[in-house]
C-alpha cells in the first residue's frame, strides 16, 4: 500500500479522440471572424486534446491521488512551513464579491477588497514592526526583488552611486544572491561562524562604502535565532548600508521579535508559509514587503490609500514620483491575500503568538527525539526548524541522507528538506509547524530512528527506496541530457505508456 495512489495515467494527448467533448458554450455565427485579415489568422485549430468531461475528471482525480499533500499527511519540509491550510480561507476567496472583481474596476466598485487590503497592510505592519507594507509582490523572491530595487533607489536618491555590493551569508536561500544579481548588484558571500550564526566580524570586514545592503534570514536557515543581530544591524547602518530581512522563517517569532523594531529596514513576508495560504504544488504565493522610514518613499505603486472620508482608493500612477514603479500588473495576488487576511483575523494577536510558541515547541521536541539517532550539528534551542545530519550513518554504512529521505516515503511520510542549507554535510532540515499533533511528531521520529537502525542491518533496502511508491527513483540524468519537455505525439521519443 503506497502513501499515494497507484493509477498512473497516460497523457491527455493519448486519451484524445477526434470529435469528443465540446458544447460548453454556444456555437458562434459562421462569419464571426471574417473581419480578421487572413494573414493574422491561425491555420486550422490548435492540436489540443479532445476529451469529454468525465474523462477529464477521472484524469485529474487519478493524477491528484499520485500526490502527497498536507491534506494527506505530515510534510516536514524545512524552510517551507507546510502548515494546515484552513478551509474557510478557500471558501472566502471564492465569494463572488471577491472572485469576480475586475482589477481595473473603479475604486468605488471595489471598496470591500480595498478595505481588506488596507487592513491587511496594517496587520502586517504591526506584526513586523515596519512603517508600511506593499502587497504587490507575488512571491517571496518577487518581494526580495522589490526590496532590493527600493534599496537601489534609496542609495541613488542619496547620490550614493558607488554601492554595488550585496552581502549574504553562505547559509542563505539561493533567491537572495539571485535577487541581488537581478537588481544589478554583485553578491559577496560571507561564511557562517562555527556556531552556525552570522559571523559578525566577517561581515564587519566586508562592509564598506560599496555595500548597498545585507540580506539576512532570521531565524537563520539552520533554524537558529541570530543572537548577535543587534551588533550586525549597527555595523550595517554605520557603513551606510541597509538591512534586508528574508522573512521566510517568520513563523518562529510572531509576537516575540519584530524586525522593524530591531532595526531592519526592509523585509518580505511569505504568506504561503507563515499565514497558511496553500502552496498549490509550487504556487501561488504572495510576498508582501514591509519597510521602515528610509524606504517609505520608494514603495511600489499603486499603494492602497484611505481618504479622510473613510473611502479607499488606489494611488494614481503619477501620485508619488519617488516610487520604484510596479513589479507586476494590478495590485497583487489578491485572492491569496484574502486567505491570509482570514487567517490573521482568525488568530488575532494572541493566536499568532501561540502559533510561534507551538511551532518552536514542536521543533525542539522533535529535535530531541530525532537526536536519539542522528547528529544535531547545532545543538541549542532551535526556533521553528532544526538541522539533523546523517554523517555518522553515511560513514558507517554508506547510506546517504537522500536514501533516508526516500525510505521515509515507505513509512508514509514526506521527506524533510535535504542538503540545505549547503553548509551542513548530509543535512536534513526538519520543520514540523504548529499544526501537527504530538502523536504525529512521535511517529515521524520513530520512523527516522527505525531507518537509522535499518541502515546498520540492511542498507540496501534503504539505498533502493522508495519501494512503496507508484514509481521508483527516476533517471534524472536522461531527463536533463535529452530534455523531453512537451508531448509531440507520434513524432516524439517513444516512452513506455502506463496501462
Amino acid at each position: 500500500m503506497t502513501v499515494v495512489g497507484e493509477r498512473l495515467q497516460s497523457t491527455l494527448f493519448e486519451k484524445s479522440r477526434p470529435g469528443r467533448g465540446g458544447d460548453k458554450i454556444p456555437h458562434p455565427p459562421k462569419d464571426a471572424l471574417d473581419r480578421i485579415p487572413a494573414a493574422a489568422r491561425r491555420d486550422g485549430v490548435p492540436a489540443l486534446p479532445e476529451l469529454n468531461e468525465p474523462e477529464v475528471v477521472r484524469h485529474y482525480v487519478n493524477l491528484s491521488q499520485l500526490n502527497y499533500a498536507i491534506d494527506t499527511g505530515f510534510y516536514p519540509l524545512g524552510s517551507c512551513t507546510m502548515k494546515f491550510n484552513p478551509k474557510l480561507n478557500e471558501w472566502a476567496a471564492r465569494l463572488p464579491g471577491f472572485a469576480t472583481l475586475h482589477p481595473m474596476a473603479p475604486d468605488e466598485v471595489a471598496q470591500g477588497t480595498l478595505q481588506l487590503l488596507w487592513e491587511l497592510e496594517g496587520i502586517l505592519a504591526e506584526v513586523s514592526g515596519m512603517r508600511a507594507v506593499t502587497l504587490q509582490p507575488a512571491a517571496g523572491a518577487h518581494g526580495e526583488l522589490c526590496g532590493i530595487l527600493m534599496v537601489r533607489a534609496y542609495h541613488r536618491a542619496n547620490g550614493d552611486l558607488e554601492r554595488d555590493e550585496v552581502l549574504v551569508p553562505d547559509s542563505s536561500h539561493g533567491t537572495n544572491p539571485a535577487t541581488a544579481s537581478m537588481a544589478g548588484f554583485r553578491t559577496i558571500t560571507i561564511p557562517s561562524a562555527p556556531d552556525g550564526g552570522v559571523d559578525v566580524d566577517a561581515f564587519r570586514a566586508a562592509l564598506g562604502p560599496r555595500t548597498a545592503a545585507v540580506m539576512i534570514t532570521n531565524p537563520s536557515t539552520l533554524g537558529l535565532f541570530e543572537k548577535r543581530i543587534g551588533e550586525l544591524l549597527d555595523a550595517v547602518h554605520e557603513a551606510g548600508a541597509l538591512a534586508y530581512m528574508d522573512g521566510a522563517n517568520l513563523n518562529a517569532i510572531l509576537g516575540r521579535f519584530k524586525p522593524g523594531e530591531a532595526g531592519f529596514d526592509v523585509m518580505h513576508f511569505n504568506v504561503h508559509k507563515t499565514f497558511s495560504t496553500p502552496h498549490g504544488g509550487g504556487g501561488p504565493g504572495a510576498g508582501p514587503v514591509g519597510v521602515g522610514e528610509k524606504l517609505l518613499p520608494y514603495l511600489p505603486s499603486p499603494r492602497v490609500l484611505r481618504d479622510d472620508d473613510g473611502t479607499f482608493r488606489l494611488e494614481r500612477p503619477d501620485e508619488r514620483p519617488t516610487s520604484i514603479g510596479r513589479l507586476r500588473s494590478f495590485v497583487g495576488n489578491t485572492g491569496v491575500l484574502v486567505r491570509a487576511y482570514a487567517y490573521l483575523r482568525a488568530h488575532g494577536g494572541s493566536g499568532l503568538r501561540q502559533v510561534s510558541d507551538d511551532a518552536v515547541l514542536a521543533a525542539n521536541y522533535l529535535k530531541k527525539r530525532v537526536g536519539e539517532a542522528y547528529e544535531i550539528p547545532y545543538d541549542r534551542a532551535c526556533k521553528h526548524e532544526f538541522v539533523a545530519s546523517a554523517t555518522g550513518i553515511k560513514k558507517r554504512t554508506g547510506v546517504r541522507t537522500l536514501d533516508i529521505a526516500k525510505r521515509l516515503i515507505d513509512h508514509g511520510f514526506h521527506p524533510p528538506t535535504i542538503y540545505f542549507p549547503l553548509i551542513v554535510d548530509e543535512g536534513m532540515l526538519i520543520e514540523p509547524t504548529e499544526t501537527e499533533s504530538v502523536e504525529t511528531l512521535d511517529a515521524f521520529a520513530d520512523a527516522l530512528i527505525a531507518i537509522a537502525a535499518e541502515a546498520e542491518t540492511d542498507p540496501d533496502v534503504i539505498r533502493q527506496a522508495p519501494h512503496d511508491a507508484p514509481v521508483r527513483r527516476l533517471d534524472e540524468a536522461m531527463a536533463a541530457r535529452q530534455p523531453n519537455l512537451r508531448w509531440r505525439g507520434m513524432t516524439g521519443r517513444e516512452m513506455p505508456c502506463p496501462d
Binding site: 534524472e476 540524468a477 536533463a480 541530457r481
Partner: protein, 126 residues
C-alpha cells in the same frame, strides 16, 4: 594516480601541453564529485582567456560548476561531441571528455600548475 603527463589546477582542471597547443578538461575526481554530467557550456573558437579565468560551465543534475582555464590563450576548438554526449566527461574525462583546445599565450604559466603527485595529494585531503 592521475595521468603523469598532465598538469592540474586546484579547481580540478587538467591541461596537456603539446608545443604551443594545450588541451583542457576536468579530472576524474571532479567528474565523480559532480555526478551525472548533463550539460557542458563551452566558448566559441576565437575567444581568449587569461589563466584561471572562467571559460565555461559544467552542469550535473543538481550541481553546477564554473570551469577555469589552466593557461592563458585563444580557444582554437571546443569539443563539439559534448553537446550531444555530455556523459563523455564522466566516462572518459582525460580522453574523449576533453573540453577545449587553446593556443597557449604564456607557456611558462604551466610551471605554476600542480603536477600529478601534487594533485593526488590535494584530492587525498578531500
Amino acid at each position: 594516480m592521475v595521468p603523469t603527463d598532465l598538469r592540474y589546477t586546484k579547481d580540478h582542471e587538467w591541461v596537456r601541453v603539446e608545443g604551443d597547443e594545450a588541451t583542457v578538461g576536468i579530472t576524474d575526481y571532479a567528474a565523480k564529485q559532480l555526478g551525472d554530467i548533463v550539460f557542458v557550456e563551452l566558448p566559441d573558437a576565437g575567444r581568449t582567456f587569461e589563466q584561471h579565468a572562467t571559460f565555461g560551465v559544467v552542469e550535473s543534475v543538481k550541481a553546477v560548476s564554473d570551469l577555469f582555464s589552466p593557461v592563458s590563450g585563444e580557444v582554437t576548438e571546443a569539443n563539439a561531441a559534448l553537446a550531444g554526449a555530455p556523459e563523455l566527461v564522466n566516462s572518459d574525462p582525460f580522453g574523449e571528455g576533453w573540453m577545449i583546445r587553446v593556443k597557449v599565450a604564456g607557456p611558462a604559466e604551466v610551471e605554476d600548475l600542480l603536477d600529478a603527485a601534487a594533485y593526488d595529494a590535494l584530492i587525498a585531503e578531500g
